[in-house]
Amino acid sequence: MKTRLLCALVTLLLSSKLSAAPIELGASVQLTGQFANTGRYYGDAYQFAVDKINAAGGVKVGNSREKLSLKILDSQSDVNLSVRQYVQLVSQDKINFLLGPFASDFALADSAISEKYNVPMIQGGGASDQIFSRGYKFIFGTLPPATDYFQSTIDLMSQLKPAPTTVALLYADDAFDVSVAEGTRKAVGKTPVKTVLDQRYSSKASDFNSMLSLIKNQNVDAILVAGHETEILNFIRQAKSLNVNPKMYSFTVGVPSADFRAALGSDANYAFGMTSWVPSPALKDEYFVNAEQFANEYKKRFGYEPDYHAASAVADVEAFVKAIESANSLDPVKVRDAIAKLDFDSLYGRIRFNTAGQINLPQTVVQIQKGKLVAIYGPKGLLEKPLYPMPDWGKR
């Protein structure tokens, strides 16, 4: 017993002396556990970006070009373990550049570590406003603010004919979705549309029959749902089985991701969603040429399509490269200052952090039409004709 304990301690001590790579990035990501489905985008995209950048020669610091290396730990979807792993990355592995986890609540907890150790963290997985409202200096985020997620959808609604007059807002009770709901509530308030249902639900929910029956009973025109992919899958299937037929519904997550469409098949059609990123050739990138090419290569390598999570993750890695090159130093505080001043175009979009540390990208409204993801409405207005109102379930 004692010897086993000693062995463990010795291992812990020794392993702190082993690492020595030129520029090491580190992340604790949910590779297993209940967030693994989205967590894998981060694990895969970080690795992809690092490989690509190394293939292009690496990072220029001073007169030499240094290779990147990446250490990814699996947090098993446990927040507390995630926090401890970031401490391990910083203090044991001496990693000075941290990439973030998925999801706002993880980013909230983990950003305390980057702040504590004065090491910059760029994360593309947490959009909740709370992450950036604490005055922390070392946390940067490449997802647009949660409060803005439904803004473009609400803009689109006013242009639809006949425009929806009533809306139901449903949101899960986690940090991200509560932020989304706050912003949406405000945005809807500025329009003539009436909110007839504003309902928070538990993140563990799997049964939406009661809420759907209520919605059906009130004959709501538009349903806006801020939740997780699991809940949204159930929501749509149960809407079908209860024959709930609003004129439109839109979801914060799921719609842009391929396995969502695969899971629902033709039932996914007509669902609106949003993405801060579409794999368009117009988004140029130093390492991946453009977003479309990135998407193709990504799919080839990992066997599934990337969505904005993956693109955001790539941008995080690139942001570190650009910041290190412009700081011309590996000192974490200097790099942190360089990150704050960054302004470059990536396959994900323009990366420029505001004073709070977050970037702002417009959300493009997307819709699934005949199994394909179609961009409908962007900052420049209508891109494609939306299928509206949705046909009744019985008439598809």
């Binding site: 693994a36 538990s202 049964d207 029959n209 009661s210 899958l233 149960q238």
Partner: protein, 287 residues
């Protein structure tokens, strides 16, 4: 009124599935005195079996249900025979901890094998529904409800009217009673756990038809099954049905009238209350 009627119908249909989810747990708990924390994980496996037969071979999910049951029966038999039988006479929380370990292993193996992708079993008729006195009733839910009812009834028949069934019931009173029926207890326990697992498999197959599945749904389903088991009581398989229906209706009403964030407060609150007031379940005899 219309809305209330619809909610009640929803609740009853959900309750049928709930009952089937808890049925296997109740059997194993009542007979072997094992609180199986891996029960939800077995339900999850049943859902995946159904999913792969549906997407891979194009089987109808209801046709895949017996396959899920047989496979889960075999798994359950092996688990009891080679793992749980080794701790069955140890203090009660030892077997509890072993099932917890099994839950962890099954869940994470499932992620390795099936990936964390969200899956659904979505047959063409999944959305078909009919109107019943003004309430919209989905056909799949009715079918699932019917299967749940049939299996509950079948289990009751089996336990009451076959020799093996009676041996199993006798074992619930006294672990060695199996010998009186000329059955090797090792095999009888394994058989019992196997049946419990098969019922979990059936519940899983139906669950996939009405809900999304992923490797992590197990823990939540175990909790739900506990609530149903306790509310109905461990005495008779038919009581489980009452527990399931009760919980289904109460949850549906809570979501509507109190708020969907309160369903867990209510369902687990009822669980605790029932335990305190009537530990033998709502319908069970008083101690």
């Amino acid at each position: 009124m219309q809305l209330l009627w619809q909610i009640l119908v929803n609740g009853v249909l959900l309750g049928g599935l709930y009952a089937l989810m808890a049925l296997g747990l109740v059997l194993v708990w009542g007979v072997l005195n094992i609180v199986n924390l891996a029960h939800g994980a077995l339900i999850m496996l049943g859902a995946y079996v159904c999913y792969y037969f549906f997407t891979g071979l194009g089987w109808d999910p209801f046709a895949a249900l017996p396959v899920a049951m047989s496979l889960l029966f075999c798994l359950g038999y092996l688990i009891q025979r080679w793992v749980l039988n080794l701790v069955i006479r140890a203090p009660m929380f030892n077997s509890l901890l072993v099932t917890f370990g099994l839950e962890v292993v099954i869940t994470y193996l499932a992620q390795l094998l099936f990936s964390a992708d969200f899956r659904t079993v979505n047959p063409s008729y999944a959305g078909a529904n009919f109107s019943f006195f003004g309430a919209t009733v989905p056909w799949v839910r009715v079918l699932a409800f019917g299967v749940a009812l049939a299996l509950t009834f079948a289990l009751w028949l089996f336990l009451d009217h076959t020799r093996i069934g009676r041996a199993i019931r006798a074992t619930a009173q006294n672990l060695v009673a199996a010998r009186l029926y000329g059955v090797n207890p090792r095999q009888l326990y394994a058989l019992t756990f196997g049946i419990g697992a098969a019922l979990a498999g059936a519940a899983g197959a139906l669950y996939g038809v009405v809900s999304q599945i992923n490797p992590y749904i197990g823990a939540g389903l175990t909790g739900k099954s506990f609530a149903i088991a306790i509310i109905g009581g461990l005495e008779k398989s038919l009581y489980v049905l009452v527990g399931g229906l009760f919980l289904g209706v109460v949850e549906a009403l809570t979501a509507l009238y109190i708020g969907p964030t309160y369903t867990d407060v209510v369902s687990f609150g009822i669980l605790v209350l029932v335990l305190i007031v009537r530990p033998t379940g709502l319908l069970g005899r008083t101690a």
